[in-house]
Structure formats: structure tokens, C-alpha cells
Amino acid sequence: MLSAIVFLPLAGALLTAVFVRNPRLVRLTAAIFAVVTFGLSLVAFASYDLNKGGLQLEDIYANWIPVEGFPVRYHLGVDGLSLPLVLLTALLGLCSVFVSWGIQTRVKEHYVWLLVLQTAVTGVFTSLDLVMFFLFWEMELIPMYLLIAIWGGGRREYSAMKFLIFTITGSAFMLVGILVVFFSVGTFSLAELAGLKPGVEGLDSSQLLLSARFVFLLFFIAFAIKLPVWPVHTWLPDAHTDAPTAGSVMLAGVLIKMGGYGLIRISLGMFPQVARDLALFLAILAVINILYGALVTLRQTDLKRLIAYSSISHMGYVLLGVSSVGAAGGALSPLGVAGAATQMFTHGTITGLLFTMVGLVYDKTHTRHIPDLGGLASRVPFTASIFVIAGLAALGLPSLSGFVSEVMVFLGTFPVWGVITALGALGIVVTAGYILWMLLRVFFGPAQERFVHLEDASLVERVAPVLLLISIVAVGLYPRFLTDLFTSGAAGLLASRFGGSG
């Protein structure tokens, strides 16, 4: 089942590339594959047995590269931490198919790369072998590069190359880390290394060829670049701003989640002791991320850039939640890590929605420059209302999903890093500031002459926003179906790696 979820988009891409010519058919094929994949991941989501917990839905093919001294296995599986992210990827994959419905140039290639991208990201979330994990991690690069470089706007080639070089720098370090771990422990099995299956204890310097902190750092650089963590965040505003809408949705929605996922699965799962020692460092970085991101966002006048910087700020919460593992033995609770994971999911849907809406606004008005906009609410009520809801979700309004994850992160982290968390909470205030100010300037105020003839979103354009909105409201009103999963995953991680009671 997981194999199907991972490889269906790729199959769709190949099919499209070879057989389908007509742009309308291309869109249709992509949509069918995305819908089926989404359906399958819903089924997977529903069939996960929460009472049993742990690793489920495994697909193992032990003899992928059965070479002596280099045993790479094909191993997919999900636990509470990764399953919702698989669902998120399928959801955003589906949305981005509809979001890019209006693309007129090189339609076929666009959808092919979009589908390949989806396979790569889903693969990252489900791989339980380090080499496979790395393979999918790298596989995402080329499609994203091309999506930005061909269909993007602004300085698209510059941004695409910047994205590529930043990411690949990180993964280069990660590759060395993977090899060091392999030759120290003798297995590539992420399931064992990350404590999902018994076999390997959390790694420390005595088991490793090199200092555990150094190896931790090799991985951390990769994840920090991806998340992104200040000061290696600079690729993100450029890439997000210049990417086409679907690219931004995928980039902000799921690609940067790969960093957060890696942080939890690998940095925490494989190096619990180091993570605990460095937790304060992570917490400080997190707060810098939150505050720096939020303050820089205030100054943005480009809608897309504004949301891009807000992503940096919001990803700081993920890092903050992760840093809660620094708690002393008894005080350890899965809430912080689960909050971080939930934050990834909610940020994925909220920012995905925000970028979709920005894309719509830009398509209609041909500008993203905030001072040029204004009074759109009366012209495009649908777009405006969804945009406002998404904004409110982003600033953490209760009953919408953003609130849930932020509360979880703060509650989980406050007992551990009181002052730092309090500082981080200031970020919420700034967030409220920039979001409300942005909404005010774009949608309200006097209606402008030149926007009189604007048309509201068409039916196809409404698909993605409605889907995302449903998930935002659903999580906001009944967060348990998500948080229970994440909590079970986080508790499992803490129990096997941090001696937590779970």
C-alpha cells in the first residue's frame, strides 16, 4: 500500500511523459493520479491501528542491493509521526495539480515534474533505510529546480540555482553522516537506528567512528538548511517568491517539512544524547528563527515574500518543539515533539492555502505588491474570505488548526525552557500584526477603480482552497484525529530513545 502511495505519482508522470500529448488530457491524467494517491493515503490513514502504535504498513524487500558490505534494503513504513505527513503530501500534491490548472506553457512537463516531486517527498517520509531516504531526499532537487527555473517569475533562474546549491550542500554533509553511521553500526536500517525497531541503541561517541556531536552536526546542517533555520534560511524567500504557485505550495507545504521530519526522525531518533545536550542551543536558534522571521516579515511589501518569511518564523516553532527533549528525565513529555509535528502539518495546509490564494490574487490583479492592492474584498468575495480565514489560521486563531499546534508546542516547551518559550510566544504577537496588517491593506479600504472588473475564482480554482480549508477547520475543531497520531509517534520515540514513560 505505501509503495503504491509513493510510486503512483511517478507512474503517472512516466505515463504522461510518454503517452499523453494533449494539455487537457495531461491535466486530467495528473488529476486522476493525484486523486487516487490521495484516496489511498486516506485509506492508509484510516487503517493505521492507533492502539497498536509503532511501525505499521511496512513494505520490505530485503534484497534490493544485497551486496556484501553494502546492504541496502527496500523498506517503507509509517508510524504516528510520518503517516500524517504522507497524507499532507498527498493532499498538497492534489491541490497543486488544481492550482496549476491555468498554466499554459509547457503544461505536460509541468505536471510530470510535479508528480515526480510528489513521489520524492512521500518517499522521504516513508523510507526506513538511510540510503533510500537519501535517494528520495535528492530526487526532489531536480524537479523543484526545473519548476522554479521554467515556470517561476522574477529572478527565477537565480532562485532555482540558489535553492539547489543550498539543499545539495546540506545533503552532501548528510551523506557523509550516513556513511559514518553505517560503518560504525553496520546497518542502514533507519527503523533500527531511529528506535522504531529494536536492534540499535541511541548513538553516542563510543559507538561512532567520529565524535557523536560531529556526526549529529553533519545531519543537522542538512535539516537546518531545509527547515530552514537562521542563518542558512536565505534560499527560502527567493525560492518561494519566484516559484510558480504550485511550486510554492509544495515547497512551503511539504518540502521544508522534510527538514523537520529529518530533525525528529534522525536527529532525535538516532542521537538522543547529543540532542539532549544541545537542546538549549536548538531552543535559542528556534527563538531567533521565530522572532527574526516575524520581524523581517513585517517589512515585506511583496505578498509572496511576506508569506515566505512568515514560514521561517513558523518553522521556528517546529524547532522549539523539538528542543523540548532537553527536559530532565521526569519532566519529559511527548507534547513538545508532537506539537512540532502537528505544527508541520498545520503549517503545511495553512501556508499551502495562503500561497494558493496569493497565486489567485496575482492571477487576477497581476501584482503582488501590497501597496498596489486594496479593497479587493468587495470585488472577489470568495478569494477574500478564504484568504482571511487562512490568515487567521496562520496567526493562531482558536478553532482553526494553527492554534492547536502552537499551543501544543508552547505547553510542551514551557516547562523546559521557560524564558525562551516566553520570548518565542512574542512571535505570535508580531504574527498577528503582520497578518492583520497585510489583510487590511490587500482586501479592505476603498475599492480601487482598476479592480472593478476583477472576476472571482473559477470552479477549478476553488477546488484546492476548499480542500485545504476543510482540513484546516477540521483540525481546528477536532484536533485529536491528528494529534493522537503524532502524540503516539512522539511518545514512541521518547520511550525508545529518551527513557520517557510515553
Binding site: 534484497n63 534490493w64 542491493i65 544485497p66 551486496v67 556484501e68 558490505g69 553494502f70 512537463e109 540510503v131 537519501f134 535517494l135 535528492e138 530526487m139 532537487l141 531536480i142 529546480y145 526545473l146 527555473a149 521554467i150 533562474e157 540555482m161 539547489l164 546549491i165 545539495i168 550542500t169 552532501a172 554533509f173 551523506l175 557523509v176 556513511l179 559514518v180 553505517f182 560503518f183 567512528l209 567520529l210
Partner: protein, 496 residues
């Protein structure tokens, strides 16, 4: 020499004979197209002999036969390279069909020279004695010099001349180094040298045990360094690559390099393989490796001609391969991770680089320009060619799902395994640098708009050859098991 020993030499003999037959056919046949076909069919004979040898070796308990006055090792290592070189030769011959218009009426000589060179390279991988190795090296190199100058225009002639002079210098250095080694060890047989040196006292305090041996090794490193295009012996590479006919460049970049690494591994492992010597030349190769990677990648960034860019890229890849050689040096006697990494990497590199050059042959035939930016829009004009070139670039960076990825992971893993994590780090940082210039090609193919919409024609043999190399590149990225096993078995011969 008994007939059974003739069998040990049969692949080389049949390749050389095939070259002669092609030359004679050239006199008789009017339509030169048949020559390539004859060469391709004829190459099945040495391939068959190689399979025969493989079976024969398999029945041997040591996995190794020596023969022809003990000047040859016939083992899986040698046979691995026989297959590699035969495959590269066949593919290059097939792809040369598109180039024939520029070869004029000398097609017979062209194919003949390629085959002669191939026989030398195959011999090189099997040589067990210094003089045999030297002769094989000359046999491999001299035809290539003629091929480099084959177009007889200004650039090609210059390329041939440069290649000739620098080959001569490097051969002289190599011979001088061999002479010193002979002086110390008193034998030209690799195995005897190995025994003498491992017994020799290391207490003199001089590097490598004695200054004469140090000089010998340094000169041999320089000599081989030219063949594998490692820094600081790389200066012939860009000019020769740019000026030679493109199929010849392709051949140089893969077969010649593979043969160079084969002989380097053989000489250093068998003759100079004692533990304390290994540590010393291992460090030497580690330094050369970092230099090659860094210089190759940094200079490649500045290139605008795609053949020149690939020339510097090949210098960088020599650096990655030397990572494996340096790791060999640290390996224990039963550990074959380093050398098998080199062998596997050479195979993936062969497929990848041939893919790139074949596409260049087809596209430059049409557009006449080797400037990277002039490949603009090929994603639309020639979707399959562009896809193949993109796959090749991605594989050269080392991004999955391509053979380059597995090769790089495997070769760097050898370094990490043998406490050379810093070398692996240098390697990965360098592959980040390389992203920039390889992606420039992908960018040209897919992102830049093209001035023309004309399709790019290519011949059937070239398309077949390209199909094999491109699919092979991806195949090795997904299912590398069998080749990895073969490489491991081949490498084990060296280390046992």
C-alpha cells in the same frame, strides 16, 4: 609459448587482428558504412573469448592464471576491464557513425586505430610485469595520438601534437620510475617486486624505505597521473579534449582513464602493496585526490565550451576515483571496498560520460556549436537527446536515481570506512561545487529559450548506443547489485 597460453591472450589478439581486418576491408569495400558494422560484429569475438576466460578462471582455485612467460595475470580484475573496454569501444564505434562525414575517406584507419588502442588497454589491465605494462601503455596511447589529430584542422592537429609531446614525457617519467623500482627490487615482475619490498627493512628512515624507491614511486605516480588526468598532470586534458574528434574525446575520457586506473591499481597493489608502503602512497594519492577534485571543479565552472567543461569534469572525477585508491591504501588485506569502488565507479562513469558525448556528437552535428548556451531549447527540439544529456549531468553530479549516485556513495563509503572521513567530506563538498556547472547544461536544455525549432537528426547506431548508455546509467542507479558483485570479486583478486 603453448597454444593454451595463446588462449590467455586471445581477446587482445583478436581485437588487434580485427583492427587489421578493418584496414584491409577498407581497401575492398566501397560503402564505408559497412566498416563500422563489421567492427561491431567483429568485437563479439574478443567478447566471446573473454567470457571463455572468465569461465576458465572461475574453475581455478586461486582465481588467477599467469601465462605467456608470467607476463600476464588473467583474473577477474583483468576480465572486468576487458569487458569494460570492449563495451566502450563498441559504443564509441557505433556513435562514430554520425561523425563519419568529418572523417573523410579515412574511416578504415579510424576504426582500426581505435581497435589497436583497445587491444593495448586490455593488455594493460592484465600486465604482470613492468616492461609488458610499458609496451601495452604505448600500444594504447600512440593510436590515440593519431586519432586526436585525425581531423587535421588547426585545433585537432594542435591537440594531437600536445597529446604526443605530453604522452612522450609521461612515458619517459614512467619508464624512469620503473627503472628505479627495478634497481631497488631487482626484478620487473610485479609479484617479485612486492615480495622483495615487503621483506625489505624500513629502518633507514627515508620515505618509502629508500630514496631510490621514493623517486621511483614518485615518477611512476607522475607517469600514471598523466594517463588518468589527475592534477598536477592534467594540463594536456582541456586542449586535447576540445580539439579531438568528439568520439575520440569520449573514448579518451572513459577507456583510457579506465585502463590507467587498472594499471595503477595493479602496480601499486601488487608490487608496492606492503602495509607500510601503502600508508605512504595512500597519503600521496589522498592529496592528489583533493587537488584533482578542487582544481577540476573550480576551473570547470568558468568553461563555456561543453567539451572543455567535460575535460575539467574528468579531472574532477579522477579525483573522486583517487579517493577509492587512497582508501585502498588503508584497507586491510581482505578488504576490497576501495578497489571495488573504483571499478564500479569506472563502469558508471563510462556509461555516463559516453551518454554525454554521444548527445554532444548529435547536437553539434546539427548546430555546429559546442558552446553550452547554444544547447538552449534542446528539451523541445530533441526531447530524447536532451533527456539523455540531463540524465548524464545528473549522474555526474551524483544525484539519484543514477549510477553516478551509487558509485559516489560506494566510493566515499570506502573512505569513511578507512578513517578518511575528511577525504569523503572534501569529495562531497566538491560535488556541491560541481552542481553549478552541470546544472548549467540542464538549464540550457530546458530553461533557456531556443532560437530555432528545427529537430535534431541522429543516426540509428548512435541512437542505439545512446539508449544503451543512458538506460544503463539509470539501471545502475536502481539495480547495481550484479555489477557491484562482479566488481567486488574482481577487486578481491588484488587484495588477497
Amino acid at each position: 609459448m603453448s597454444p593454451s597460453e595463446l588462449f590467455l591472450l586471445s581477446p587482445e589478439i583478436s581485437v588487434a587482428l580485427l583492427g587489421g581486418v578493418i584496414l584491409l576491408l577498407d581497401l575492398a569495400v566501397k560503402r564505408k558504412g559497412y566498416l563500422a558494422a563489421a567492427a561491431l560484429v567483429g568485437l563479439l569475438v574478443p567478447a566471446g573469448f573473454s567470457v571463455g576466460l572468465l569461465i576458465r578462471v572461475g574453475s581455478e582455485s586461486t582465481g588467477q592464471l599467469t601465462g605467456v612467460f608470467d607476463t600476464l595475470f588473467i583474473d577477474r580484475f583483468a576480465i572486468y576491464f576487458k569487458f569494460l573496454i570492449l563495451a566502450a569501444t563498441a559504443l564509441v564505434i557505433a556513435a562514430s557513425v554520425d561523425y563519419r562525414a568529418r572523417l573523410g575517406r579515412f574511416q578504415g584507419e579510424y576504426y582500426g586505430l581505435i581497435l589497436f588502442s583497445a587491444s593495448g588497454m586490455m593488455l594493460l589491465a592484465a600486465g604482470a610485469e613492468l616492461i609488458t605494462l610499458f609496451v601495452a601503455l604505448e600500444l594504447a596511447t600512440l593510436p590515440l595520438v593519431a586519432l586526436a589529430a585525425f581531423l587535421r584542422d588547426a585545433r585537432s592537429t594542435e591537440s594531437g601534437l600536445k597529446f604526443l609531446v605530453l604522452s612522450a614525457v609521461s612515458s619517459a617519467l614512467l619508464l624512469y620510475g620503473m627503472a628505479f623500482t627495478f634497481g631497488v627490487a631487482g626484478s620487473t615482475w610485479l609479484r617479485d617486486i612486492g615480495q622483495v619490498l615487503s621483506g625489505a627493512s624500513q629502518e633507514t628512515g627515508a620515505p618509502f624505505g629508500s630514496y631510490a624507491l621514493m623517486l621511483g614511486i614518485a615518477l611512476m605516480v607522475a607517469g600514471f597521473g598523466f594517463k588518468i588526468a589527475s592534477v598536477p598532470f592534467q594540463m594536456w586534458v582541456p586542449d586535447v579534449y576540445e580539439g579531438s574528434p568528439t568520439p575520440v574525446t569520449a573514448y579518451l575520457s572513459v577507456a583510457s582513464k579506465a585502463a590507467g586506473f587498472a594499471v595503477l591499481l595493479r602496480v601499486f597493489y601488487v608490487a608496492l602493496g606492503s602495509a607500510d608502503l601503502r600508508v605512504e602512497w595512500g597519503t600521496l594519492f589522498a592529496v592528489l585526490s583533493v587537488l584533482s577534485m578542487s582544481v577540476g571543479n573550480l576551473v570547470a565552472i568558468a568553461q563555456s565550451n561543453i567539451k572543455r567543461m567535460l575535460a575539467y569534469s574528468t579531472v574532477a572525477h579522477a579525483g573522486y576515483l583517487l579517493v577509492g585508491v587512497a582508501a585502498v591504501a588503508r584497507a586491510g588485506p581482505s578488504d576490497s571496498l576501495g578497489p571495488s569502488g573504483v571499478l564500479f565507479y569506472l563502469a558508471t562513469y563510462t556509461l555516463t560520460n559516453l551518454t554525454a558525448f554521444f548527445v554532444i556528437i548529435a547536437i553539434v552535428n546539427k548546430t555546429g556549436s559546442e558552446v553550452i548556451e547554444d544547447f538552449a531549447g534542446m528539451g523541445r527540439r530533441a526531447p530524447w537527446l536532451a533527456l539523455a544529456l540531463a540524465i548524464s549531468m545528473v549522474s555526474l553530479i551524483g544525484v539519484p536515481p543514477t549510477g553516478g549516485f551509487i558509485g559516489k556513495v560506494y566510493i566515499f563509503s570506502a573512505a569513511v570506512r578507512h578513517d578518511l572521513a575528511w577525504l569523503a567530506l572534501a569529495g562531497v563538498i566538491n560535488s556541491v561545487v560541481s552542481v553549478y556547472y552541470y546544472m548549467r547544461v540542464v538549464r540550457a536544455l530546458y530553461v533557456l529559450p531556443s532560437a530555432s525549432q528545427e529537430r535534431v537528426p541522429s543516426s540509428l547506431p548512435l541512437r542505439w548506443a545512446l539508449g544503451i548508455t543512458a538506460i544503463g546509467t539509470v539501471f545502475l542507479g536502481l539495480l547495481p547489485t550484479h555489477l557491484l558483485r562482479f566488481a567486488q570479486e574482481a577487486a578481491r583478486i588484488l587484495t588477497s
